[in-house]
């Protein structure tokens, strides 16, 4: 088991954004998290990845209790994420973005850096960063400022940056938003290849086609509660889900 949550709860004032959610996410799969706008998906993963502290319940990662740890500690333990809408370091180059993503895997080079004429940062880290840029198709843009990349390229750069920490669990928050059909097909291939490499992925997504075509299992949230969980076909057939989620989608 990669990640488990037990009765995980997060309140904002009187609003219960995440209400006693139990999840059990097995390793080496893409786990979809869907639900209408405001269902609490992003809040849930903010609690899981350490951006928010839970008000109740526990989070276990690979069997260890990691409830309430801070984001940087969770990254060190093997959880990496991307953000809704994208949060690349716009004023830095694509290469620097990925190298920063490798922070937890690099040895501190401050003292070495003080020695004259020595280039800090080791070859192995540079090669690793370039290999990741290659993997997401950005090798040619290594020296471009991230803020000057096209939107789709920024999303892929953010995934490369997350992968640089060599995570075992990758959380993607609406990675396909704003991507065209070809780009989202490539995203699906990338996710499947990563799972093939042994990663576990939590995918939050509004693009139903992508979720149904990529995930082994899907959980549905509505008003902070988990209302269903199952394989994509089970979810599609579930009347509760149809009413809560797909009904709302049709109107959109």
């Amino acid at each position: 088991m990669s990640l488990e949550t037990l009765a995980l709860t997060k309140r904002f004032g009187g609003v219960i954004a995440v209400n006693a959610v139990d999840l059990g996410i097995a390793s080496r799969q893409v786990f979809g998290l869907i639900g209408p706008n405001g269902a609490g998906k992003t809040t849930l993963i903010n609690v899981i990845a350490g951006q928010l502290r839970p008000d109740g319940g526990t989070v276990r990662f690979e069997g260890e209790d990691v409830t309430g740890l801070e984001a940087h500690q969770l990254t060190r333990r093997g959880i990496a994420r991307t953000f809704q809408g994208g949060r690349v370091f716009k004023g830095l180059t694509a290469y620097e973005n990925v190298l920063i993503g490798r922070h937890t895997r690099m040895r501190s080079d401050v003292l070495a850096a003080l020695v004259p004429f020595r280039t800090p940062s080791e070859n192995v880290d540079r090669d690793h960063a370039h290999a990741l840029l290659e993997r997401v198709g950005l090798r040619q843009r290594a020296t471009t400022l991230a803020g000057e990349l096209a939107y789709g390229d920024q999303r892929r750069l953010e995934i490369a940056r997350a992968l640089a920490s060599e995570p075992r669990l990758l959380v993607l928050d609406e990675p396909a938003a704003g991507l065209n059909a070809t780009e989202s097909d490539r995203l699906r291939e990338l996710m499947r290849a990563l799972v093939g490499d042994g990663l576990t992925i939590i995918l939050i997504e509004h693009n139903v086609r992508l979720v149904m075509g990529t995930c082994e299992r899907v959980a549905v949230l509505n008003f902070g509660r988990k209302i269903a969980e199952g394989s994509p076909s089970e979810i599609q057939a579930d009347p509760v889900v149809r009413e809560a989620y797909l009904g709302a989608e049709d109107a959109a």
Binding site: G50, Q51, E70, H72, A80, V88, F89, I100, T104, S165
Partner: protein, 290 residues
């Protein structure tokens, strides 16, 4: 050679102050590079100045050791202060550090051993030009190398996006605190040097105007490179001397220089070099390279 010697002896105080100001500008550069707007460096400078001057006067502590104690004391003071104020960001952080500066000033004004409002007079002129410029060279070199290291990249990440930096595994609070303490250490050292240039210090030397002046040195010079603060401090400290012939119009001209830099080079004077490069690349049609 004689001409050079005459120049040095006539202007040695100004030349020393240029170097001290460059050190102060570098001290605030560290936090600016990490994206944090702090205005406490005049107060850290005061701590270094008073501690080193008092140690020399009452305990006969050798000059370098007194400087070091002042600088370390200043850095040590930054740690607990940083823990408290780094809950704040942006303008609120600036105001909180400014308030700290006021507290230090008021304490100096009220304490008998620091001479209250009179300050300390007759501080021996122990600072030699080479003291100033050797430490400037060392500090600039160290910061330049740190900028290119894993620590410099972490600071840049925090400046760009704190939330995203934390999820890259960067312990944001620790890195901010380190930047703040390093800045305080450098400012404390510079304060000790300046006290032994100017013979006398009083609490108002380290007030709000000084804090802002230090910030202006760094911002006008430019934060992208460690050369920026050094340029900025050199230009703005020597400008009043160079503009002496303008007499009453001097302040106006200096104001115009400041305004010009901030309007046309918002990232500072060091970006002039980059601008020229970009323009040349555009001329040869190599926009992709830029």
């Amino acid at each position: 050679m004689d001409a050079l010697r005459d120049f040095l002896s006539a202007y040695s105080t100004t030349i020393a102050i240029v170097g001290v100001n460059a050190l102060l500008a570098l001290s605030v550069w560290v936090t600016l590079y990490a994206g944090q707007l702090t205005l406490g460096n005049a107060a850290f400078m005061a701590v270094g100045a008073y501690v080193s001057a008092l140690l020399g006067r009452y305990l006969d502590v050798p000059f370098p050791l007194a400087l070091a104690i002042g600088a370390v004391g200043s850095g040590a003071l930054a740690a607990p202060l940083g823990l408290t104020v780094f809950r704040l960001r942006g303008v609120y952080l600036a105001i909180a550090t400014l308030a700290f500066g006021e507290v230090v000033r008021v304490v100096l004004l009220a304490t008998p051993i620091t001479g209250k409002g009179q300050g300390l007079n007759g501080i021996p002129p122990k600072t030699e030009l080479w003291h100033v410029y050797l430490t400037l060279a060392v500090v600039a070199y160290v910061l330049w190398r740190v900028q290119g290291s894993i620590v410099g990249r972490a600071w840049a990440a925090i400046r760009e996006d704190e939330l995203a930096a934390a999820s890259q595994g960067i312990p944001v609070r620790r890195y901010k605190l380190a930047a703040f303490a390093i800045g305080a250490l450098v400012a404390g050292w510079a304060g000790g040097l300046s006290a032994h240039v100017t013979f006398s210090i009083d609490p108002n030397d380290f007030a709000f105007t000084k804090a802002v002046q230090i910030l202006v040195f760094a911002v006008v010079g430019g934060v992208p490179s460690v050369l920026g603060p050094i340029f900025g401090a050199t230009l703005l400290t020597s400008l009043p001397e160079l503009l002496r012939p303008l007499k009453d119009a001097r302040d106006i001209f200096q104001g115009l220089v400041l305004l010009g830099v901030i309007v046309y080079l918002p990232r500072g004077l060091v970006t002039l070099a980059q601008l020229r490069r970009t323009r040349r690349l555009q001329q040869i049609g190599a926009t992709d390279v830029a």
